[in-house]
Assembly symmetry: C2
Homo-oligomer: 465 residues x 2
């Protein structure tokens, strides 16, 4: 008796095998013919396998006819070709063992659909639903595709620190990490004495691994990070989390156009793998989620079109000439808002767009200044249906320019000694970008709320589990 997964039992080649299946009952239906149908799921795939439990089973009346949604079972049986439409196989049970019951009076996941908001309150149970099982499988595949893509392209995976005394962008609210009791903080001259804290100085949760990633790119050539990042911003929106996962590749001897090439190939690989390996789950999203009928058209648009490369200046011209009325005014030097980005990708070009060479005043100190002195070598990848999905830049590799950019933005170069060393010793042109994992899952699935694409979301007022 082989233990096999539901995914394997659903394949036609399983017909004739005597197998053991272990999982959870999604539904049970008793037939008038004196037998029952059990829809069994074990998380290995979206679909269930249908188990036919004959009335002859010794525990049929006592156990099988009382199996509840959510009960765990171990079932032995033979895989048969199914006469029913939409499934290749079914399993004729020779033994059904109840492993753990689920009281239908109190178990919160019943047959009927539940709102995503309700399910957020039971994040430990929601992976048992179709939607959140599909999200977990998609998230796994995307993560795996990312590792495989970089591995195949000669990148090294670097674990940049989560706790840090640096601050990547010189901005952005950070969480403090401390062992000081805030009710009884040691003080000197009325100020908190952080020499008594665990790290001997104030420490925070990282907002980006980029700066540390640059140190490794300037030694190993091509690296990427894949880790958690944090924002202590009081943003209660469907697009913001306090804790989220970022992927940040960084490459020595890469100029901005190389960076664009990589970002395009990378995003296309993620999409093509999702279409190859997660089709059942993607179909589920396209059919079951609101306003998601165009999911496959959206994904194929990005997969099959070359990304249009447009400078910020050209982009602003297009927006000014569009004749549209904007909520946020368009002018050279203003940051582009979601309405502008989406207009460019969705209505004007109708394909993915890479906007580059932004005004220096809009971007952080580490981006390379162009010869025009007005713009920096930044790039944002905009995709239809979402807007910005990747942001990156070529980094300033000249020591003196970098120092003056820091001062221009009110930062003290003295505080960045090690980062400046990368420009002092064997400096190279280098580039990188960041991709938010959760926003990628939103894009691929059509889910609307970022709290529903991470296992246990952290937001203001919420760190349950």
């Amino acid at each position: 008796m082989d233990k096999i997964s539901v995914a394997d039992a659903r394949k036609a080649e399983a017909v004739g095998r005597h197998v053991r299946l272990q999982g959870w009952v999604r539904t049970r239906r008793d037939s008038k013919g004196g037998f029952s149908f059990i829809e069994l799921n074990d998380g290995s795939c979206q679909g269930n396998v249908q188990v036919v439990a004959p009335g002859e089973l010794a525990n049929y009346e006592a156990v099988v006819k009382h199996l509840h949604t959510g009960a765990s079972v171990s079932i032995d049986g033979e895989v048969k070709a199914s006469p029913a439409k939409g499934q290749a196989t079914e399993v004729l049970a020779s033994n059904v063992e109840l492993v753990g019951d689920a009281d239908s009076e109190t178990y919160q996941l019943q047959k009927k659909g539940h709102s995503f908001e309700f399910l957020r309150g039971i994040a430990h149970l929601r992976p048992r639903t179709n939607t959140f099982g599909a999200i977990a499988r998609l998230r796994h595949q995307v993560s795996m595709s990312i590792h495989q893509f970089f591995h195949e392209h000669g990148f090294y995976y670097i674990h940049t620190p989560v706790i840090t005394a640096s601050d990547c962008e010189g901005a952005g609210a950070m969480f403090r990490v401390s062992t000081i009791d805030p009710g009884d903080a040691p003080k000197v001259d009325g100020k908190v004495d952080y020499t008594k804290d665990f790290f001997g100085k104030p420490a925070y949760l990282t907002v980006s691994g980029q700066l540390q990633g640059e140190a490794f790119a300037c030694a190993l050539g091509k690296i990427y990070t894949f880790g958690p990042t944090f924002r202590a911003e009081n943003s209660n929106t469907p697009r913001h989390l306090a804790e989220f996962w970022m992927i940040e590749p960084e490459m020595a001897f890469y100029e901005l156009t190389d960076n664009m090439d990589l970002a395009e190939a990378f995003l296309k690989r993620i999409i093509s793998d999702a279409l190859k390996f997660c089709m059942e789950d993607l179909k589920f999203f396209a059919e079951k989620l609101e306003n998601n009928k165009e999911l496959f058209a959206k994904l194929e648009n990005v997969l099959n079109n070359p990304f249009k490369r447009v400078s910020y200046t050209e982009g602003v011209d297009i927006l000014l000439k569009s004749g549209k009325k904007w909520e946020y005014p368009v002018a050279w030097g203003n940051d582009l808002q979601s309405e502008h980005e989406r207009y460019l990708a969705e209505q004007h070009f109708k394909c993915p767009v890479i906007l580059y060479d932004y005004p220096r005043t809009l971007k952080p100190f580490y981006m390379k200044v162009n010869d025009d002195q007005k713009t920096v070598r930044a790039m944002d990848v905009l995709v239809p249906g979402v807007g910005e999905i990747i942001g990156g830049s070529q980094r300033e590799e000249k020591l003196d320019v970098l120092e003056s950019r820091m001062r221009e933005q009110g930062l003290e170069p003295e505080g960045y000694g090690w980062y400046l060393d990368l420009r002092r010793y064997g400096t190279v042109p280098h580039s990188g970008f960041g991709l938010g994992l959760e926003r990628t899952i939103l894009f691929l699935s059509g889910m609307a709320n970022i709290r529903d694409v991470i296992p246990f979301p952290r937001t203001p007022g919420n760190a349950e589990y």
Copy 2:
């Protein structure tokens, strides 16, 4: 002119190609014949490629003869078969461009060797050395092998939360995560008012993703975590970090023996991949590190032997009968110390050992109680040369037993409502284990200090970078 990596340029099949190489000068040696040898490294592999820069180059006197260790260069040339021993190829340069110099007066990485302690102080530069480049490549390969192993075995990668209001083991010092200013904490009745904190309650950095991983295993079957974990313990030892990476698989319908089978296959895969893909770096470690001559024998011992499975009770018997004098006394009910574990693996069995069924008093509440009521289904994997490398258990799946175990250890079941739900609804036998990534790298490389196998180590008093 193709850009290729140093790794590719060192292969015999590159002979005859006209290529561009970009990297950093390790050393330069000027020959009396009026030309120079440049040892070039780009991080793609341990070895350098030797570049022959002829005196005819226009910038030979002005630039080439002044190339310093650490300078970045872009070199065009033809790959030739090398007449020298130990290298298949060399590159005859037709153009050498200095990209970024490295002042030999101030650049801290010169030709001579540096102590690991010195290099810890320049963690942004140490990946440019042979040892730390090798560690980064090995760490990458091990991470990749872990993802591939689980992917091929039907596991899903789950990102359990880093910030948490739970505490996995009911013990272990944790870091507080907060936006409260400890110099000006809001108080009610003299106590800190955490309802004013970001999450509305006290929040911490996770010590383990296990409990949340169990929720996903009880929905998806087989999952694993791979993420950072934290300990706020004031341990200044070569084996402890405040921030380190853990891998924690968790499997539904797995009993302890299944867990042992998985742990053994998993560890063997990591070793066999390292031997397959990191041979040049492993040879470097075996040759260059102190007391590391036996590295390959140690790895092959673990790879080629079935892991011996021994109960804790048998293990204690063996230790008592050994006639050895122990620093820590051996008695049934005492925790085993490193000296005991290493005796069993290294001297008694001379192979990897899985010790299982530990006294219930030694282990956390979530481990399954055996029928003898005295022991729990815990397991530790011990390997020669290291001691414990994996710890795991079958989890208690019975609600009432789990609740009474919590009380026995002074925990309130009320605080673990969601975790108990996993036993209330469709409970299943399940198991899992944890592997510390850094300890695995210590084992594979023979490095002695855990601070040298993570990019930017965090320890008491140290969160630089």
